[in-house]
């Protein structure tokens, strides 16, 4: 019998807020008590964008509040499904399946999580950051990258981060409010951001740590595949554990169709693993090699 029986809810939610931001980015806040109560960092929901679509669309959860029974999603309008989704209005219902997927699992002995999110890979990093707030023994650092305007007002940080290049002071206010240091990177020259890659900042940060501090680092990342590959290369170079969240075209979202697989390496050889229920979070070494 499946040990995960009854773990995914089909929930008819209500749209509480729908923010439309620059760069075709949108933030949905939904009344979704069942999903909010069991979602974990890395979980996603499978969203019905409209009756005209045969398939749902997988979207990462950015925040889940058990107390208020709400979740927040950040998504980018890319194709027909997300275009239809972007036209949904506050008060309308929205059918979700979720929470789905194996989450990010921090190792308790690694007290310096390095969170690296790119584009619509930022939301799971926000979720991890919020989940780590309850344990003050963690000292996370977040690096966010975007090639469209960041989906929040870039604000000068009050926190000093050793190793950061001059002028790289922009931060995400929400993380800053939570006391989680963070910096931003982009190739678009946005003020206060690093003009380069997220991995440049990661390298600066790692190099500024002592050997002892660096041994406590673990990387968590979500974003475009080339970025994840660069993050995995960095982790390998510094001999640090790294978990990455992947995406792939998806049909059922519950493990039935094997449509969303990625090839990973296992001790038994190559295997096709389902992003939906075997992932979306995988060890970087399994995806990109040890």
């Amino acid at each position: 019998m499946n040990p995960d029986r009854d773990s995914i809810f089909k929930e008819e939610t209500t749209i509480l807020e729908h923010l439309h931001l620059d760069g075709d980015q949108h933030i949905l806040k939904l009344n979704s008590p069942d999903i909010a109560s069991t979602a974990l960092p890395g979980s996603f929901v499978h969203v019905e964008c409209g009756p005209q679509f045969t398939l749902r669309r997988p979207i990462s959860i950015m925040r889940a509040d058990k107390n208020s029974g709400t979740i927040e999603l950040l998504y980018k309008r890319l194709g027909r499904g997300t275009t239809a989704l972007s036209e949904r209005e506050v008060g309308e219902p929205l059918s979700l399946l979720g929470p789905i997927g194996r989450p990010f699992i921090p190792h308790p002995e690694r007290k310096r999580p390095l969170l690296i999110g790119g584009g619509v890979g930022m939301p799971p990093m926000v979720f991890i950051a919020e989940s780590l707030r309850s344990d003050s023994s963690y000292q996370p650092f977040a690096i966010l990258g975007s090639e469209v305007p960041f989906p929040f007002p870039v604000t000068p940080s009050q926190m000093v981060i050793p190793g950061m290049p001059d002028g790289v002071i922009g931060s995400m206010p929400l993380l800053e409010d939570w006391g989680i240091p963070n910096r931003l990177a982009s190739l678009q020259g946005y003020p206060g951001t690093h003009d380069g890659y997220v991995t440049d900042l990661a390298r600066h940060w790692l190099d500024a740590l002592t050997v002892e501090e660096r041994s406590q680092v673990e990387l968590f990342s979500c974003g475009p595949h080339p970025m994840l590959e660069a993050v995995a290369t960095l982790a390998r170079e510094y001999d640090l554990p790294c978990q990455v969240s992947l995406e792939e075209f998806m049909a059922c979202g519950v493990g039935g169709c094997a449509g969303c697989v990625v090839q990973i390496e296992t001790p038994q050889g190559p295997a096709m693993k389902r992003v939906c229920v075997d992932g979306p979070v995988f060890e970087a070494t399994a995806v990109f090699g040890a």
Partner: protein
């Protein structure tokens, strides 16, 4: 009038409802139980993931893409091999919940027989012969599109098992009814009609097919009219032999299901529709019951093949203008 009963007898298999979950859509039978509110007890039977003699890694991603009114898939029969399925998966299934049907694919006629023999000595209720998979080079439709070869595959399986055999027919052939007749003569007990239609989707920026395998099988509401006609055609050769049909292809509500039953199906297959609504079987079951009450039908089998064709139109008068 008696209370409508959804239970059906499908070539000796007693099913609690007429819904069969289709191979390749629901893994090895337990995947959808992840969804709160879903129950295998609402399902008549589950066709397990297509199984080959040796393990298969399956095709390179992307494996699926949405298309208008449907989707294309090319999974490539990813599976852990027959021995693993029989020894490690079947023992963990709860056979009190529903009926389980193995789905087998071989790379030769003899291999089909070999896998059928392996499943003969297993608890599955039936064996579905997949001679119509569009997504593998060394099997599948190679067998299913030639009636003579289809018959040889069925014959090999028939010799290997006493379990009911269901032959899954391809729509990608010239005369599906002719193929069905050959399979009946070779000893099939039932049919699944239809497998997916071959299709392609292209990324116009990259000028490449989106599907890693270039082409795949089209499913979903877009293929329903095709499937319905194929069921009607196959039923014409089945009805005199008492050979039942799983009607499948784009069914996404009770009305669709009833259309297939009227066309000649004894049970109805649900696949792609589950992807948008994993709880759809419950509403299809109740919709069928409602139809049976409205039409004062107590047994679903009374509806099978009740289609009355329109009279052929008279010849068009010659134009005198």
């Amino acid at each position: 009038m008696e209370k409508p009963s959804l239970s059906v007898d499908f070539c000796g298999i007693k099913m609690e409802t007429p819904i069969v979950l289709l191979s390749g859509c629901v893994g090895f039978g337990e995947e959808y139980t992840r969804v709160n509110g879903y129950s295998n007890r609402e399902i008549g039977a589950i066709c397990l993931k297509g199984t080959t003699l040796e393990p298969r890694l399956g095709n390179t991603p992307h494996r699926i893409i949405e298309t208008p009114g449907g989707m294309i898939n090319s999974i490539g029969l990813q599976n852990p091999g027959a021995e693993h399925v029989i020894n490690n998966i079947l023992p963990n299934l709860d056979f009190s919940e529903t009926r389980y049907i193995a789905n087998i694919s071989g790379s030769s006629v003899e291999e089909y027989g070999e896998i059928a023999a392996m499943f003969d000595d297993s608890p599955v209720d039936s064996i579905e012969i997949n001679i119509s998979c569009p997504n593998v080079k060394d099997g599948g439709a190679v067998f299913g599109n030639d009636p003579e070869v289809s018959a040889r595959v069925v014959e090999a399986c028939r010799k290997a098992t006493t379990k009911p055999l269901i032959t899954k027919l391809s729509p990608n052939q010239t005369d599906i009814a002719n193929n069905a007749q050959h399979c009946i003569d070779a000893g099939t007990d039932a049919f699944a009609v239809i497998n997916t239609l071959m299709g392609m989707s292209i990324d116009i920026d990259r000028r490449r097919p989106i599907i890693g395998n270039n082409q795949g099988g089209l499913s979903g509401p877009a293929i329903k009219p095709v499937a319905l006609l194929k069921v009607h055609q196959v039923y014409q050769v089945c009805k005199d032999h008492n050979i039942p049909i799983i009607g499948q292809g784009g069914i996404s509500n009770a009305e669709d299901a009833i259309e297939f039953i009227i066309a000649g199906a004894t049970t109805i297959g649900i696949g792609t529709a589950l992807f948008s609504d994993p709880l759809i079987c419950s509403s299809i079951n109740s919709g069928i019951e409602e139809y049976m009450r409205k039409h004062q039908t107590s047994s679903l089998s009374d509806l099978t093949g009740t289609l009355e064709l329109n009279q052929a139109a008279p010849a068009t008068p010659s134009c005198e203008c």
